[in-house]
Symmetry: C2
Subunit: 365 residues, 2 copies
C-alpha cells in the first residue's frame, strides 16, 4: 500500500504545481527510492490523460538528482564530456518536468573529484537552461532513510515532517504570504536587527515573489533582492547552511556599499571563503528571503525545506533571480547562489521604519 | 559490491552487443531492480565517453519492460492514448538502446484489462518501429527474485543459470553456429522427426540467421523461415511455452499446405486457439529455430532463454522475420509471433535427407 500522503502529494504536484493538462508530455526525474511517488504520479497522469516518461536521476551532479549510476559514470569518465543530445530532445519535447529528491545516500558523489563535477555541471548547463525556461517545472522531495538520517530523524518522524510541510492549504498560504509580498514590493528600505545583527538594504524598484510551491514543493517563502550596492551593516546567521555539501555554521558578515568586507564562520570557514572568491558577484547579496511555512519548525540540512522555515530570514550570497530584479535595476551576476539562514525569534524585520515582524511573529498575525 | 558477473555482462553488452563508440547517446530501459546492471553500464559508458540516459521501464506493456508505475498509469487511464512525443524524441536521438528485463513481479499487469493493454500496445507501435530500425539495440535480463521464482529456482541458483548462459566465449559460439547456419542457408528441405512428430518444410530461397547475442543477450540460436505453403506433417511440442502470459503445454499441430488444420494443447488450449484466430498469417509457420546455447539446460518460462535451449527446436506461429525471407519469397504476415518448443533428445533434424542432428547432438560434434 502506498502511504495516502504520497498520493496527496502526487495530486498536489499534478494539479497545483505543474498544472498538467490532458495530452501533456511529462518527464519525471527520480531515482529508485522514489518508486512510490513515481507510481502515484503515474496514476494521477493516467487520470488526466497525460503521458509520463521517468528518467533515472543521472542527469545532474547536484544532491538530489544524482545516484550510484551517475557516480560510476563520473568515476570512469576522464575526457571532455560530450552533450547528451537525446536527453536534450526529451526535455525540449516535455511540457512538464517534475524532479524528485530521493537519495539513498546524500554523500553518493563524495569520492568524485570537484573538478569532474565542475566539468559535468558545465556540460549540463544547456539542460538547466531548458528547465529554467519552462513554465511547468517543479522540484520536490520523497522521504528516504538517507534524508531522514541527514535531518537527524527516524524515517516515520521525517515522513511526518515532510508531509506536514507539503500537505497544507496552499490557497490560504497564498493569501497569508501575499500580505508580506505586497509590503516588500512597495517598501523602499528593509532593516533586520537581532543579536549581533543590524543590516539595512534598499528594495527600491525591486520585485517581491511569493513562493507557494509552484517551482519547488513545498513552497512557503517570500523573497526579493536588494539593490546591489545598498546593503550596509552586519549580520549573524545562527542557523547552519549546507554549502557545496558542507555544513557551514555561525557565519558573520560585514557589508559595506553592498560588498562583503569581513566574514567568519564557526565551522567550514574555508568553504565560505571559496564561495566568496568565486567571482565578483559572489561577495554581494542576491536575495532577501523570509521563511513562512508553518509546517517547517526545524533545520533538516535540506535547503528545499530550510529556507522556508517559519520565523527565519535568509540572505543569499551571489546571483539574484531575474524575477526579483526591477527592469531598470542591476541583476547581481554570479555562478553561485548560497543561502544563509537566520533565526528571527529574537529580532525584528522593519520596512521603511515600520516593524512588520518581531521575535518571529508578524505584527498583523 | 556489484557481482563481478554483472560487470562482465555490462562489458559484453557495450562491447559485443551494441558496440558503443565514444560520443554515442545511449538509452537504457530498466526498472529499479536492475540498479546494479544500470550502475555497471554507466561505468562502461563512462570508460568509452558515451552519454547514458536511463528510462524507467514504463514504455511498454510487455513482460519485462513494464512495472508498477505503468500498471498505475494503465489502471487510471480510460481514454484514447495520446502519443508520448517526448519519448519518441529521446529514442530518435539515441544511437543505442539497451532494454533490461528486471521485474519484481512478472504478473504486475495481471489486473489490467486485455483491451487496455491492446490499446496501449497500438499507441506504442511507432516506438517499436523506431527500435526495430536501429542497429544498436539489445534486450537483456537482470536476475531478480521474481524471475528466479518463475523459473522455479532460488535467486543464487538463477543467477548462476543467467550468467552461465551469458558469459560464454561468443566468438567460439559464432563459429559453431556458423556450421549450422550455412547448412540451413543452402538446404532445400528440412524434416523434423521424433515421438508423434514428422514434419517437413521447404527452406528453398530463405535465409538463415545466427543469433550470437547482438539484438538480445544471451544469444544462441540459428533460425530461418519455411516457404509459407510448404509445411506438411505433424509435430508435438513437449516443452511448455509462455504465450500472452499463460503457460501453454503439450501443443500438437497438424499442418497441410502450410496451414495449421488441427491443433490441441494439454494446458491453456483456449490461449492457443485465440492466437491461431488472430489473423490469416496466425495459422501459418513463420520460423524454424534451433537452440544452441550450451549454458541453457532447462526451461525457465522466459523466451529470452527458452528458445535458445541446447537440444531444442522451435517453430513460431505467425509473423516471419524479414531477415529470414528471401527477396522473391513471401514473408508471412501476422500480428503474432509465438514460439513453440520441442525437446530433440529423442529425434532427428534432417536437411535434404541428410541427418544433421540426432537425439540432440549435431553429427559433426
Amino acid at each position: 500500500m502506498i502511504d495516502d500522503r504520497v498520493r496527496q502529494q502526487a495530486t498536489k504536484l499534478v494539479e497545483w504545481c505543474v498544472e498538467v493538462e490532458p495530452g501533456d508530455t511529462v518527464t519525471i526525474i527520480a531515482n529508485e527510492a522514489a518508486k512510490e511517488l513515481v507510481t502515484a504520479l503515474h496514476a494521477e497522469l493516467g487520470d488526466r490523460g497525460a503521458e509520463p516518461v521517468t528518467v533515472y536521476a543521472t542527469m545532474d551532479v547536484s544532491v538530489g538528482l544524482s545516484g550510484e549510476p551517475m557516480r560510476a559514470f563520473l568515476q570512469h569518465h576522464d575526457d571532455e564530456f560530450t552533450s547528451p543530445s537525446h536527453l536534450l530532445a526529451l526535455l525540449e519535447e516535455s511540457d512538464a518536468v517534475i524532479g524528485i529528491r530521493s537519495d539513498t545516500n546524500t554523500n553518493v558523489l563524495s569520492d568524485v573529484s570537484e573538478e569532474t563535477k565542475q566539468r559535468r555541471a558545465e556540460a549540463m548547463a544547456p539542460f538547466m537552461d531548458v528547465l529554467t525556461e519552462k513554465e511547468q517545472v517543479c522540484g520536490t522531495q520523497h522521504p528516504t532513510q538517507a534524508w531522514a538520517q541527514r535531518a537527524g530523524m527516524s524515517l516515520p518522524e521525517y515522513e511526518d515532517f515532510v508531509y506536514g510541510a507539503m500537505l497544507r492549504d496552499w490557497a490560504a498560504v497564498e493569501e497569508k504570504q501575499e500580505s508580506l509580498r505586497e509590503r516588500l514590493e512597495s517598501a523602499s528600505e528593509a532593516r533586520i536587527t537581532g543579536p549581533e545583527t543590524d543590516i539595512t538594504m534598499s528594495l527600491d524598484g525591486m520585485h517581491a515573489v511569493s513562493d507557494i510551491g509552484e517551482r519547488n514543493f513545498p513552497g512557503g517563502e517570500v523573497f526579493t533582492a536588494p539593490v546591489v550596492d545598498s546593503v550596509e551593516g552586519e549580520i549573524w546567521f545562527d542557523k547552519p547552511s549546507m554549502v557545496q555539501g558542507h555544513e557551514v555554521e555561525d557565519v558573520r558578515l560585514t557589508v559595506k556599499d553592498g560588498t562583503i568586507v569581513e566574514y567568519s564562520a564557526g565551522k567550514n570557514e574555508e568553504t565560505l571563503e571559496s564561495v566568496l572568491s568565486t567571482d565578483e558577484g559572489a561577495s554581494r547579496i542576491g536575495e532577501l528571503g523570509v521563511g513562512m511555512n508553518e509546517g517547517i519548525d526545524r533545520f533538516t540540512r535540506n535547503m528545499l525545506f530550510d529556507e522556508k522555515m517559519d520565523g527565519t530570514v535568509h540572505l543569499a550570497i551571489g546571483r539574484a533571480y531575474h524575477w526579483t530584479v526591477g527592469e531598470d535595476r542591476e541583476q547581481n551576476q554570479s555562478a553561485v547562489h548560497v543561502d544563509l539562514l537566520k533565526d528571527m525569534s529574537e529580532g525584528r524585520i522593519e520596512l521603511d521604519g515600520e516593524v512588520v515582524q518581531e521575535d518571529g511573529e508578524f505584527v498583523w498575525e
